[in-house]
């Protein structure tokens, strides 16, 4: 197992390097640049700016300088768009925000989704099952960019219970609407996957054996059925978790949370090269890390899987 983890981590480094180079090339291939605007800058002013940010250097040198800066000093460079701030500042401010609402959304989606899916499977064809299936279909067809404005309309304008946006350092009032908006559709997917997987497991021979042994229904479910039923759910949860904690631009835009997702999308539009790179590397590393984590968890849950 340890050698498996070591091998995976060793592969992660070239993967990240390829990611950096590819992103760099694609970014430069896109038309426009960070300092193009409706009012083209006079050549002298543009030259000063390009010199300041090293854009006057040859392309290969820019990549080399960048990689060296990142590797040796963990310095992702200055933002081209937000001129008083560095990429490190932006990530340090935005990532904790995203991490907070992302982790809460994940917990809510996973706990409610799994409970709902499992309950629906156990009480198949009962009113509970129909309600659960109805809810999951409804929640899945309602994208969060539709749901966010509706939530604000109901909870802020009509009921006046919750603020319609902002972060305020992560106060719980500011957390509720983003978490509902972000978690609902994932919750629905998790419930559906859990339900079908659970149904499949409940109809297997070893469950029938367990029931025949005279074990109590709760023991059959928690002790024997839940763990194998979790395997497909787990492979869904891994990427979902990464997606949630690395930012949702919809949440950031609709709830003005100041999270990393907004910076990521804006940086692409603004051609803010250093911010694009910084967040790409962050998201890339997270993806690699959590995929590895899911693989490890797999082996732990299912003894048949060995690396």
């Amino acid at each position: 197992m340890l050698s498996f983890i070591a091998r995976r981590l060793a592969v992660a480094i070239p993967t990240l390097l390829i990611l950096v180079v590819l992103s760099f090339v694609l970014m430069y291939a896109a038309p426009g640049g960070p300092f193009n605007s409706e009012r083209p800058l006079p050549p002298a002013v543009l030259a000063n700016i390009e010199a300041k940010y090293g854009l006057d250097q040859p392309f290969w040198k820019q990549i080399a300088n960048y990689v060296v800066g990142v590797v040796t000093q963990f310095d992702f460079g200055p933002s081209f768009q937000y001129k008083d701030r560095s990429v490190n500042d932006i990530i340090a401010q935005g990532f904790p925000v995203t991490l907070t609402y992302g982790a809460w959304s994940f917990v809510v989606a996973a706990v409610v989704g799994i409970s709902l899916g499992a309950a629906a499977a156990i009480k198949q064809n009962s009113w509970l099952d129909y309600m659960a299936v109805g809810f999951t279909i409804g929640a899945q067809v309602l994208p969060n960019f539709v749901m966010a404005p509706i939530l604000v309309l109901i909870f802020t304008l009509w009921l006046g219970w919750l603020p319609g946006g902002g972060w305020n350092g992560g106060q719980w009032e500011n957390l509720i609407l983003p978490v509902i908006a972000l978690s609902t559709s994932y919750m629905a997917s998790i419930a559906r996957i859990t339900r079908s997987s659970m149904l499949e497991v409940l109809n297997t021979n070893f469950i029938r054996t367990a029931q025949a042994k005279g074990l109590s229904p709760s023991r059959v479910i928690f002790r024997h059925a839940l763990k194998p039923a979790m395997l497909p759910v787990l492979s869904y949860l891994g990427p979902t978790f990464v997606f949630m904690i690395t930012g949702s631009v919809v949440i950031d835009i609709f709830f003005s949370t100041g999270g990393i997702g907004r910076f990521f999308v804006d940086s692409a539009f603004n051609r803010d090269y250093s911010v694009i790179m910084g967040i790409t590397i962050l998201v890339g590393s997270m993806t690699i890390l959590f995929n590895l984590l899911v693989d490890v968890l797999y082996a732990w849950i299912d003894p048949k899987i060995r690396y």
Partner: protein, 544 residues
């Protein structure tokens, strides 16, 4: 809650209470208007995006400049009508030849740390903003101001110390211009010319603009800043005119989605927000005291590629005239935009100070006459039902631009049988396409940098970097050069507008209006300031 945070909270509460009590005493009514003032004096407004910088030397956008105007104070300010009023300077004198301006500074202006604001702070700030090291995107503003040696300093050919600004003593600032510029004093209300506290910049580098570090001289100080979420400013106790400041706290919230912002406004979270396109008629019917439309200093137009990469038909002036005439601007402003915009037949915005909109043939016709004339011109150019013109029209991605483009293409189709291929492009791609003349017709808009017609008409000069039509007319260049130093440039502007109306390198479509929802209890908003330059120190909340 720890003991320290409890202590802090208690102290803060006491301070707030003390401040509001003092406030209630001194400001029960507004000193000028006599209106009763509300006990809570806060102003919360919405912007669509975070600003690139709040460093006066670097700030480049409208929203960022509004914040900088609160945090810092320049030589002169604007009043509600946009007239110059004293800021840090109490006044100025111009030399006989119009090339030297001498500003006298007030002796009671202070930085937020208590240091006096001196002429040397302006000299430092201007040299810093022009120097290549800072690489300010607004460094060119000093060239626009005609300050001596500005171009060479920006290009790095001269030391910043050669810039034409000096401080013979702490309260005197002398500015030398390379040529007389009648509207020069108007330009010192611009953020790029605001003073900067040298000791703070030296101590903190680019981090000097954080709330903990910033030392500023305006009516407010930055007390909290969370990028992409909010920026809070509270009054500066050191400000020389602090006793006349009424609003205690100003909060700028970044809310990207206009509709969410409107919902939050309706829920009472905001005092001001923008009205989404097309919703003005409904909102002004429901809340007439709050839905407000005022002229805003931008013009919307279609630019026509006049180089050899264009559609050859567009090089025919008859075709350009016909396309311009066949646009029913009343339909665009009343049905498509519906926010108090005005049809445009000239490039310069109708509300620009000192500018009289000249008569152009097209402006005085009815739409029927324009359509008839357009058909006539199109036939003369050799196009008709059996030989229709095909053109392409590009715009940057936006619902509003799409709606206008669709309406225009329909009008061209119905009146002239022109087939228009519409294309939208993401902003950066669009700029590159348009800037490289890789288009036939493209959307454009221009907003005034200062309240004078040359801010628009400069674009029509052959060598203007913003002239994407690549239009060139020696007479226009001559007139614009003349207008620069003329005491009364209106005649030149009239002629330029008439030449444009004849050559039609750009098709003016409409003049912008700013459409806002604004709390009825907010007083002092400068509706009549054409550049929409507002200062929080002039605002107040009226008691309900």
């Amino acid at each position: 809650m720890t003991l320290t945070s409890m202590l802090k909270a208690t102290t803060a509460a006491t301070l707030v209470f003390a401040a509001s009590a003092a406030f209630a005493d001194s400001h029960a009514t507004h000193p000028d208007t006599g209106e009763a003032l509300a006990t809570e004096q806060t102003f919360t407004y919405r912007v669509g995006d975070e600003s690139p910088s709040y460093d006066p030397g670097v700030a480049e956008d409208v929203d960022g400049s509004a914040v900088v105007r609160d945090l810092f104070e320049g030589l002169m300010n604007q009043d509600a009508e946009g007239n110059l009023v004293p800021g840090v300077a109490t006044g100025y004198e111009v030399s006989e030849d119009g090339k030297t301006y001498t500003f006298t500074l007030r002796d009671n202006a202070k930085w937020s740390n208590g240091d006096p604001v001196v002429a040397g702070d302006f000299v430092y700030a201007w040299k810093r903003a022009a120097a290549p090291e800072l690489a300010s995107p607004y460094a060119w503003f000093f060239e626009l101001m005609s300050i001596e040696n500005a171009a060479a300093v920006v290009a790095g050919d001269m030391e910043p110390s050669e810039l034409g600004v000096s401080a013979p003593d702490d309260l005197t600032l002398v500015v030398s211009l390379s040529q007389p510029l009648p509207y020069f004093p108007q330009m010192v209300t611009h953020a790029t010319t605001f003073p900067v506290h040298k000791a703070t910049v030296d101590a903190f580098g680019t981090d000097w603009t954080t709330p903990e570090n910033m030392v500023s001289n305006g009516a407010y100080v930055m007390s909290e800043f969370v990028p992409q979420e909010k920026l809070v400013r509270t009054r500066n106790e050191m400000y020389w005119d602090n006793e006349n400041t009424i609003i205690e706290t100003v909060t700028k919230l970044v809310i990207t989605d206009e509709n969410i912002a409107l919902t939050r406004y309706l829920a009472g979270e905001l005092d001001q927000t923008d009205v989404p396109a097309g919703q003005f008629p409904r909102l002004s019917a429901e809340r007439p005291d709050e839905a407000i439309s005022v002229p805003s200093a931008c013009s919307y137009y279609y630019t026509i590629n006049m180089t050899d990469t264009t559609n050859p038909a567009l090089l025919d002036v008859n075709v350009r005239q016909a396309l311009a005439m066949a646009i029913d601007r009343d339909v665009i402003v009343e049905a498509v935009l519906a926010g108090g915009q005005k049809p445009a037949y000239t490039f310069t915005h109708w509300a620009t100070a000192g500018f009289e909109t000249p008569d152009t043939p097209m402006a005085s016709m009815t739409q029927e006459e324009r359509n008839a004339k357009a058909v006539e011109l199109m036939t003369a150019a050799g196009f008709g039902a059996d030989n229709p013109l095909d053109v392409s029209l590009i715009f940057n991605t936006s619902e509003a631009h799409r709606s206008v483009a669709i309406a225009v293409s329909q009008m061209w189709k119905q009146t002239l049988g022109v087939e228009t291929e519409l294309g939208n492009q993401e902003w950066q791609t669009f700029l590159e396409t348009r800037g490289n003349q890789d288009y036939e017709i493209a959307r454009g808009a221009w907003c005034a940098d200062y309240n004078e017609a040359s801010t628009f008409l400069d674009l029509m000069q052959s060598d203007s970097g913003y002239n994407d039509a690549k239009y060139s007319n020696p007479r226009v260049d001559e007139l614009m050069a003349e207008a620069k130093t003329s005491e009364n440039p209106q005649a030149a502007y009239t002629e330029v507008e008439q030449i444009i109306a004849e050559d039609m390198p750009i098709i003016p479509v409409y003049h912008y209006a700013e459409v806002n929802m604004q709390s009825a209890d907010l007083g002092g908003w400068p509706f009549t300031n054409f550049e929409q330059n507002w200062y929080s120190k002039d605002l107040y909340k009226i008691a309900e």
